[in-house]
C-alpha cells in the first residue's frame, strides 16, 4: 500500500528484537554452537551461556536459577504448567480454576483437560476485566488443585491483583500459576512475595526472540513433563537447548527489567496522550479495560458503528500496525472473548482496536495516529448503515 513509514503499535502481539539482544545471540549460531550436554570445551561454553541466562531470568522474577526452565514460548509454558500440574496431581483432585479472559493457550488447554475428566471453573470479570479475589476464594473446593490467572490481559491490558490471588492460593494449599507473558518488563514481579508457584513468560513480548520462553516452577511443585526425552533442563524439558534463543531471552529480560518504573512511565505518558486525544476527538467511543490498572502501553478502544478489520486495513495503508483483539484471533470472525466477558455488546466489540505502544514508538507516532485515526473512523462511519440510524450526536464514552 501507500505508506511512507511504519508506525508499529502492536507491541503486545510481538516486539522487534533489540540490537543488543540480536548481537548477544549471533555468536551462538556459527561459533559457540556446541551441544551443552556434551563434555568438550566448546559445549561447556554453551552450558555456561545457558546458566547465565538462567540467572538473568531468575533475577528478573525473584526466583532461584534452579526454578527456571526454558521452553519454546508462552504457549508451551502455559500448556506445560496446566497439563503438567493437572496430571501430576490427579489423585488429589480434578478441579481447576481459571478465568474467562485468559489467552487461548490457557483456555484451550483447560478445555482439553475437561475432555480428559477435569472440571474447570472459568471465573467472570467485571466491566474492567478484573477478577474478584472473593469470587476466586469462593470457587475453591477441596478438589481444587490449580488456579491459573493471567498477570495482565493481552487485549485490554488490565492488570490483575496477583498477590491477592497468590495469598488465597497459599492459604488453601492450591498451586497458583500465572501467565505473565504480557507483564514482563511492564510490572515488577516477585514470585516469592506474591506466592506464585508457576509463571509463564515469552521472550518475543519483551524485545527477545520468538520461539523461546520459560516456565518458573517453584521448588517442590509436583508437575509432569510435557516434552519427554533427553535429560535437558534437569530432566524436565527434553530437546537440545535453543542456545541462541535462551541467550537472547536472558539478555532481553535483563534489559526489560533494569528500570521498569522509568520505562513504563515513558511509554505510559505517550499512551495517555493517545487515549485522551482519541476519546476527546472521536464520539461514540469506549475505552476498554481498566482506566488505571492497565499495562503502560495498552490502549483498547471500541468505535461504535464500524468494524475493526476495515479500520486495520486503512491504518495499514497509512503504515500503522495495529490489531483488533489478539493477534492470534485477528483472522477469525469471532468477537473477542475478553471484550464479551467485560460485558461489551457483541456489535460494539466488532469495532474494537488495540494499539499497544512500546520501544518502537515516539511522540511523533502518537501525533500521526491522532491525525489519521479520526479520518478513518469518519470515512467508515460515513458508509455505515448503523451510523445514520443512531444519529451522529451524543457520546457514550467510558472514561
Amino acid at each position: 500500500m501507500g505508506a511512507q513509514r511504519t508506525i508499529y503499535m502492536d507491541h503486545s502481539a510481538t516486539t522487534f528484537v533489540k540490537p543488543e539482544v540480536a548481537n548477544a545471540m549471533i555468536p551462538y549460531f556459527t561459533e559457540h554452537f556446541g551441544n551443552p550436554s556434551s563434555i568438550y570445551s566448546i559445549a561447556r561454553e554453551s552450558k555456561k551461556a545457558i546458566d547465565f541466562a538462567r540467572v538473568q531470568t531468575a533475577k528478573a522474577l525473584g526466583a532461584d536459577p534452579g526454578e527456571i526452565y526454558f521452553t519454546s514460548g508462552g504457549s508451551e509454558s502455559d500448556n506445560w504448567a496446566i497439563k503438567g500440574v493437572a496430571f501430576a496431581n490427579r489423585k488429589r483432585g480434578n478441579h481447576i480454576i481459571t478465568t474467562q479472559i485468559e489467552h487461548h493457550a490457557v483456555l484451550h488447554t483447560c478445555q482439553y483437560l475437561e475432555k480428559e475428566g477435569f472440571e474447570v471453573t472459568y471465573l467472570p470479570v467485571d466491566q474492567y476485566g478484573l477478577v474478584d479475589p472473593a469470587v476466586l476464594e469462593k470457587a475453591i473446593t477441596e478438589k481444587t488443585i490449580l488456579i491459573s490467572i493471567m498477570y495482565a490481559n493481552n487485549e485490554i491490558g488490565t492488570i490483575e491483583p496477583i498477590a491477592e490471588f497468590g495469598a488465597i492460593a497459599r492459604k488453601h494449599k492450591v498451586y497458583f500459576h500465572t501467565d505473565a507473558v504480557q507483564a514482563i518488563g511492564s510490572i515488577p514481579i516477585d514470585v516469592k512475595a506474591q506466592n506464585i508457584d508457576l509463571l509463564s513468560l515469552s521472550a518475543h513480548k519483551f524485545y527477545g526472540p520468538k520461539g523461546t520462553g520459560a516456565l518458573y516452577i517453584k521448588k517442590g511443585v509436583r508437575i509432569d513433563n510435557l516434552i519427554h526425552g533427553g535429560g535437558q533442563e534437569r530432566r524436565r524439558r527434553a530437546g537440545t537447548e535453543n542456545i541462541a534463543g535462551i541467550v537472547g531471552l536472558g539478555k532481553a529480560i535483563e534489559m526489560a527489567t533494569a528500570d521498569i518504573t522509568g520505562h513504563a512511565a515513558k511509554i505510559r505518558s505517550m499512551r495517555d496522550r493517545l487515549i485522551n486525544g482519541v476519546l476527546s476527538t472521536i464520539s461514540h467511543t469506549r475505552l476498554n479495560g481498566h482506566p488505571e490498572k492497565r499495562l503502560a502501553g495498552n490502549f483498547n478502544v471500541s468505535f461504535e458503528f464500524i468494524e475493526g478489520e476495515s479500520m486495520l486495513l486503512w491504518l495499514d495503508d497509512e503504515g500503522i500496525c495495529a490489531s483488533t483483539g489478539s493477534a492470534c484471533t485477528s483472522g477469525s470472525l469471532e468477537p473477542s472473548h475478553v471484550l464479551l466477558a467485560t460485558g461489551l455488546p457483541v456489535e460494539i466489540s466488532h469495532g474494537s482496536l488495540r494499539l499497544t505502544l512500546g520501544d518502537a514508538n515516539t511522540e511523533k507516532d502518537v501525533d500521526f495516529v491522532l491525525e489519521v485515526l479520526p479520518k478513518i473512523v469518519k470515512k467508515l462511519r460515513d458508509m455505515s448503515p448503523l451510523f445514520v440510524k443512531s444519529g451522529k450526536e451524543g457520546s457514550c464514552n467510558v472514561q
Partner: protein
C-alpha cells in the same frame, strides 16, 4: 491476504451512499455478526439504472458491496437476480475462504432489494433457487 482487486474496491468503493426514494432496498446481515449491508436500487423499466450501498463490515464486506452494485448496474432485474456470490467473488479475483460469506451477503442484499421492489409493485417475490448454497462451513455466525 486480499487480492489487489479487493483492496481497490475496499479503498475506493464504488457506489457508496443512499438513493432517495429508491425503488428497491435490501438490508441483510446482523451487527452481532459484524456485518450489515444495505443495498439501494433505482429501477426504471425493469432495468437497474443506479445501485448504491452502505456497509458495516470488514474489508471483504465493503469490497463485495462495491463490486455487487457495480455488477448489477444496467442489468435487467432477471439478469441481476442471476448475479451469484461466486460471480462477485470472481470479479474480486477471489476472497479468502473465511471471507466468502461476504459475497453471499452481497448476493442476498441484491435479491432482497429486488424482491422489495417486486412486493411494493404487488408482484410475487422471487424465491431463492438454491438457498442452501448460502450455508458454508466457515461461518461462525449464522445470519
Amino acid at each position: 491476504m486480499y487480492s489487489e482487486k479487493v483492496m481497490d474496491h475496499f479503498k475506493n468503493p464504488r457506489n457508496v451512499g443512499e438513493i432517495d426514494n429508491a425503488e428497491g432496498i435490501g438490508e441483510v446481515g446482523n451487527p452481532v455478526c459484524g456485518d450489515i449491508m444495505k443495498i439501494f436500487l433505482k429501477i426504471e423499466n425493469n432495468v437497474i439504472t443506479d445501485a448504491k450501498f452502505k456497509t458495516f463490515g470488514c474489508g471483504a464486506a465493503i469490497a463485495s458491496s462495491s463490486m455487487a452494485t457495480e455488477l448489477v448496474r444496467g442489468k435487467t432485474l432477471e439478469e441481476a437476480w442471476e448475479v451469484s456470490n461466486m460471480a462477485v467473488a470472481e470479479a474480486l479475483e477471489g476472497l479468502p475462504p473465511i471471507k466468502m460469506h461476504c459475497s453471499v451477503l452481497a448476493e442476498e442484499g441484491i435479491h432482497k432489494a429486488i424482491n422489495d421492489y417486486r412486493v411494493k409493485k404487488g408482484l410475487e417475490p422471487w424465491v431463492e433457487k438454491n438457498p442452501h448454497s448460502h450455508e458454508h462451513e466457515d461461518m461462525t455466525c449464522q445470519h
